[in-house]
Amino acid sequence: MGIETITSDELDVESVLGSAVERREDPALITGEAEYTDDIQRPNMAHMAVLRSQYGHARIDGIDTSAAEEMDGVIGVYTADDLDVPGEIPVGWLLDSLRTPVHPLLAGDVARYQGDGIAVVVAEERSIAGDARDAIEVEYERLDAVTDPKEAVEDGAPVVHDDLEDNTAFDWEIGDADETDDAFANAAHTAEVDLTNQRLIPNAMEPRATVAEYKPGTEELEVHLTSQNPHLHRQLMSGVLDVPEHKLHIVAPDVGGGFGSKIHHYPDEALACWCAMETGRPVKWTATRTETYLTDAHGRDHVSHAELAMDEEGTITGMRVKTYAGMGAYLSTFAPAVPTYLYGTLLSGQYDIPAIHCNVVGAFTNGAPVDAYRGAGRPEALYLVERIITLGAREMGMDPAEFRRQNFVPEDDFPHQTPVAVEYDSGNYEPALDKALEAVGYDDLRERQAELREEGRYLGIGLSSYIEACGLAPSELAGQLGAQAGLWESGLVRVHPTGKVTAFCGTSGHGQGHETTYAQIVSDELGIPYDDIEIVEGDTDEIPQGMGTYGSRSAAVGGSALATSSQKVVEKAKKIAAHQLEASEEDIEFSNGEFSVAGAPERSMHIQDVAAQSYLAHDMPEGIEPGLEETSFYDPDNFVFPFGTHIAVVEVDPETGEIEFENYVAVDDVGPQINPKIVEGQVHGGVAQGIGQALYEGAEYDSNGTLVTGSMQDYVVPKAEHIPRMETDSTVTPSPHNPLGVKGVGEAGTIAAPQAVVNAVTDALQPFGIDHIDMPLTNERVWRAVNDAPSAEDGGSEAVADGGERAEDEPSGSDEGGEN
């Protein structure tokens, strides 16, 4: 198992695409040369600190900054009243009837979540800024808070924004309600479940940071930022700061992970810029870990009820979903899209479901804003789908693998139109399921499970056949759905006179290895050696336009932009080569960088020599300009839909609630793999975050809106010993929509893993009649579930001795089959 990397010396032009070449990013990262935002120093640089609300909901009756202002080394102390910018953080995705309360840079009258900014200090030193911040006195009048999204929209709940008494940001639906009701009216069998998809904290290892420098001479604002999308930051900050885009230079240097949390435009970034303009000093702000816990956009936060309708044979006829989605106190950048178009549109999963209806109510709460976190909407959808599918199989008394197989969209039904708006591009679900089943030894495992139960041991097998939507596009469709930006990507390929290449892309990697994979793409397209190609990303002055990296869009959209630009370069070079070889363009063949005349291979020119000729421009074909560089703005025809099956095998100790992994198998189909080692790494990391959600992680607010999981001591970021060794494999089903056929992998593991684990644990606990436990499945929750289980009244061991018989009043489904 495992894929061996090779060095770039071992690459040849013919096999560069698909090779596990070592990452070219690594040398800087393993020697300490990498430059993260907090590493940046500027002469005369000052430091900013933010005073944040200590309460979840409070009226601010007064702020006394005098003590802070008097401290040595303090340059300025500012509150909402001091800010003379348009000063509202915009919402980047609008829905019909969306209510968008003002999101100020600093809270003026009311703090609406713990961590809401109240004042900023600029000082000579980081430590002085912190001291001065702590010296500011705020007179708070505490208000009642609400943090549960379902409770927030009930009558009488504390009101987050005075003019929005029902706390409702939106009430959205997708699918056909009448058809779905009919499906349930005519169903032979149904299954249902109430579940939560808990709030998560992204926890990129590098905290958010900003270094802002204003140059009065040119009126340019240069901002180094922990960003996944510097161009998007430029667009949003331009409006907030009232600085034209061409005067705003945003650079994402090395970025220490994002997972969605560095997509969004936060008040702190604009504040650091404003402070730089106000004080005339370069200003640095770096979040402490506590600040990242309080203010990084959180993820998930759904409370849902799901139902499945089936006919006599176990064929699914309908699905109905009601979800309350917590939005937090304000709408963050892409927040409205996450629990709607990124969630409701994937509720068909891998299944051919004739009727689906989903209603989502977005609720304001006194919590940190919720926005895209690794997977963004898709993990919430697939968790729900794969839980209710598992319960459907149980209701039917069918093996969960066979139930899935019976209901999969068949191989010959692609492109497949679902009842929830999207059309799946390509897919072939059974081979991935079969590979995963074979890898875990499924049949033997089921036998062993039965034997172990006789011994009072509880093995569980959890399946997750997931799908995701990546490369969100085309821009026209995104616009119809409410996006306030296009979702194309730009790529520029510049062949220098020396034949070396610099390629620029508007995506912005932060650990994904873009410089390596993009160089592989460009090398393959141009036939120019991999080591001769340099990739540049993350700087709005180097790359005029771009949209950034999120939603596993980089390979499918950014990679396609570079491939398209490379193809344009080849087209132009071919004209020049034909002219210089004195042949007609139709007679020129191109292979591995070499242009040759058909039938006379000795008459040939390498593309790197063509580049030299294109700049000499002494002998060019008529109408062809000198130089060799091309740009494209690639706007895909459709999303791409990666898929796969993950299987978790666990043993649960009902006495202690402990869960031990026996195996974890991931079979993913992300289309052709540009670099299999990088794909493997992305799957590993994604699965680890999914297991983190399943077993350990959860952001918890108390009833006052105080974040009680406010540090790494209280919020479990999984450690090495928490994550099992994983076995990865793949199938390859190319997307017909892009020139590379690629789909996207960054979020696959996180989308697939939670339900694989929860299905495994509840499978293990079938003898106790436990069908569902809400995440995270901590030892305590599992132990409580066992103790509270209907069959536990007679003693868990008796339930086992009885061969897994369950109490008859179990709410969802019978236990026919017993071993699913």
């Binding site: 990397t5 300490g32 290892m205 790494g681 540090s711 970021v717 090495a720």
Partner: protein
């Protein structure tokens, strides 16, 4: 704030500097001396991004005062490579794809080197245990474990042939 004159050797280079009583070692290294390879992730000794070697032992520099390091030898990521050739642990991380964003990597490598010094041939469980104070959010740890195993093998080969040159190094 009381100030102190201290001396520390970082990767073999002697430095004299003046720090506040409360200055943390990580801030002295990063902000005063420019060794920015050491990163700050949590300021609470939990994540391990700031791990450095203090007189040979791996420590969390975000909760150690700079004055406590007075007179000590400090090792950081910048000192791992020798004359342009990677240390076995660096080679392992690159070959086994043991990093993605790279933010935890310097601390992770220094923690791993401390382990390998104490236990040159650790098994998987021992490696996972040894790096439990170093959080990684990108890799799922599996390839980090492989990277440490790679380094252990590499160092064993070097020890066996006694040449002092890492075997199989590029």
């Amino acid at each position: 704030m009381t100030e102190h004159d201290i001396e520390i050797a970082v990767n073999g280079t002697e430095h004299e500097l003046t720090v506040d009583s409360r200055t943390l070692l990580v801030h002295a290294l990063r902000d005063e001396l420019g060794y920015t390879g050491t990163n700050i992730g949590c300021e609470s000794s939990t994540c391990g991004a700031c791990t450095v070697h203090l007189d040979g032992d791996a420590v969390k520099s975000c909760t150690l005062l700079a004055v406590q390091a007075d007179g000590s030898e400090v090792g950081t990521v910048e000192g791992l490579a020798d004359d342009g050739s990677y240390a076995p642990i660096q080679e392992g991380f690159q070959k086994e794809h043991g990093l993605q964003c790279g933010y935890c990597t310097p601390g992770m490598m220094l923690a791993a080197n401390d382990l390998l010094e104490r236990n040159p041939d650790p098994d998987e469980e021992e490696i996972r245990e040894a790096i439990e104070g170093n959080l990684c959010r990108c890799t799922g740890y599996q390839n980090i474990v492989n990277a440490v195993e790679f380094a252990a093998d590499e160092m064993a080969e070097v020890a066996a042939d006694g040449s002092g040159e890492p075997a199989g190094s590029d």
